[in-house]
């Protein structure tokens, strides 16, 4: 990307707290406080961890996959600690729809403030400005975002001190409540076994949903859609056979192209974006087909990134990496003549012993 294109792109749609002038530092703070510290965007499906730090659901789920700690305070955490935060979501919605207006008013105020004392010349200028303002107003049309409904029904986790075998516990994989005595069979089955003893005969998801909606019929509307919005459990892929992994994808109506690793990556990503989508208010949620498109795009960028280091021209590659080749050849020569260099870092044994004295190992 050329530097020009970069500048243009910067100017176009990347919003940031620094859009607000220095004089409105409180607004900068407000804008910053409604942004995810991982992606820098206004929160999308905000979730809170037990330490209280808030992130976009997708961002924090990705981060936890890499390292199970809060990105801000490093407190240990896992996916079952993620709680959606409808209050922040509502605040973000409100701010999204008013930000452009507030920013415009703020910049107008700034120019008025900086204008010289009122003279005829200044008056003429300000008239000009007034003429300009309808233009700028039309540029900054506020996006139509309806404020999300908040029902304040965040689930609160309860402390369980003594765990009885009949007691329900959170499954570490799918975060569903499972009886303690059944947790092992539940996990072994890839989180598919019935959750409770009175659930002996496996019921279809739909039947389960109906049963629940009878009990918890809080909001009738929006339920008519055929999308079945229940969290999808993570799977312990390493204990599953190829066919079982494939079945996971078929269950979710996902394509089964590629090899086992591709299936796992696809299913993992699907579970991530699906569950992150559930952290949003129902009105804001993406539809299943939107999620499918998102998954497809993700796979495309991923395969592109993988292909990047492909060698186009062997000759050019040789020239570009000549230094490295020369070094490797020079390093290999003494070995050939029978003398093994004292400080070889390539044998695993040596690596192990070297960790004590030195602070590096080179990965081959």
């Amino acid at each position: 990307m050329s530097s020009d294109a970069l500048e243009r792109w910067l100017a176009s749609d990347v919003h940031d707290p620094s859009d607000f002038p220095k004089s409105a530092s409180a607004l900068r703070d407000l804008d910053a406080s409604l942004r995810c510290n991982i992606c820098g965007e206004l929160y999308n499906a905000p979730v809170t961890l037990t330490c209280g730090h808030c992130f976009c659901s997708v961002c924090v789920r990705e981060a936890i996959q890499v390292k199970a700690e809060c990105p801000t305070c490093r407190k240990q955490t896992n996916e079952s600690h993620i709680r959606s935060n409808p209050q922040i979501e509502a605040a973000v919605d409100g701010w999204k729809s008013s930000r452009a207006l507030v920013l415009r008013l703020c910049l107008e105020e700034e120019t008025r403030h900086n204008a010289p004392p009122f003279t005829t010349k200044a008056a003429a200028e300000s008239r000009k400005k007034r003429k300009l303002s309808p233009d700028s107003a039309s540029n900054s049309t506020t996006p139509e975002v309806s404020a999300g409904r908040t029902d304040g029904s965040t689930s609160s986790s309860q402390e369980v001190t003594v765990i009885d075998s009949e007691e329900l516990v959170d499954c570490p994989m799918c975060t569903k409540r499972v009886q303690m005595k059944r947790i092992n069979t539940h996990i072994d089955s890839g989180c598919r076994s019935p959750l409770r003893s009175d659930d002996e005969r496996p019921r279809s998801k739909g039947a389960q949903k109906n049963a629940w909606s009878k009990i918890l019929d809080r909001k009738g509307k929006g339920k008519e859609r055929d999308d079945d919005w229940t969290p999808v459990p993570k799977a312990s892929y390493q204990v599953l056979k190829d066919k079982q992994v494939k079945d996971l994808l078929i269950d979710q109506q996902l394509p089964t192209t590629g090899d086992r690793n591709a299936w796992i990556a696809r299913h993992q990503r699907w579970v991530l974006i699906w569950n992150a989508n559930l952290d949003q208010q129902p009105k804001q949620r993406k539809t299943i087909s939107e999620l499918r498109i998102e998954l497809k795009r993700w796979e495309e960028t991923r395969s592109k990134a993988k292909k990047a280091p492909e060698v186009d021209s062997a000759a050019a590659y040789e020239i570009a990496n000549k230094a490295q080749f020369d070094r490797l050849i020079a390093a290999a020569r003494p070995k050939k003549s029978g003398k093994i260099p004292r400080q070889s870092v390539h044998s695993p044994d040596d690596d192990y012993s070297s960790t004590k004295e030195n602070d590096v190992i080179v990965l081959d």
């Binding site: 961002c59 070297s354 590096v360």
Partner: protein, 153 residues
């Protein structure tokens, strides 16, 4: 490059342009979202008074989930600072660039940390295994598994 990575970098760049960098840090080049160069100078009294260094950041498409590859630039113009955690080829042994990386960190955040790492240095010396490491070092410091053993400097 994933959309998230370039958007996040665009935001960081915008912030640098509007707010400026902290004292002693300057943006040398950021023409794309793959590689940025910044200059680094330790302000006030320190072992590195009057020296200016340059840092090279390389970003992967998983940024900021994955850490950027950061090293000091070593060429005709710049050298690598003589420091117990910095190798003569510019590679840095700092936990925040490896297993302690957090996606909430930023380019400027890394620069400030490295600045304070240099500022708190008591004695200018190379890591004990410098020669050995430099001989076999991979091009990308992220391929090295450093052992972080010393948090005093």
């Amino acid at each position: 490059m994933a959309a998230i990575a370039s958007r996040r970098l665009a935001k960081e760049l915008k912030e640098i342009h509007t707010q400026g960098c902290p004292v002693g840090i300057q943006l040398l080049s950021a023409d794309n979202f793959e590689e940025w160069h910044l200059s680094l100078e330790v302000m006030g009294e320190s072992q590195y008074q009057g020296e200016v260094f340059a840092l090279k950041f390389r970003f992967e498409s998983q940024y900021p989930i994955s850490a950027p590859a950061v090293q000091f630039i070593v060429n005709e113009r710049y050298t690598s600072p003589v420091h117990p955690h910095v190798y003569s080829n510019g590679h840095i042994c700092a936990s925040i660039l490896g297993n302690e990386w957090s996606p909430v960190l930023s380019v400027i955040g890394v620069c400030v940390t490295l600045q304070s790492m240099l500022a708190s240095c008591k004695k200018k010396e190379r890591p004990p295994d410098n020669d050995r490491y430099v001989r076999h070092a991979p091009d990308n410091p992220k391929q090295t598994r450093f052992h972080y053993h010393d948090d005093t400097v």
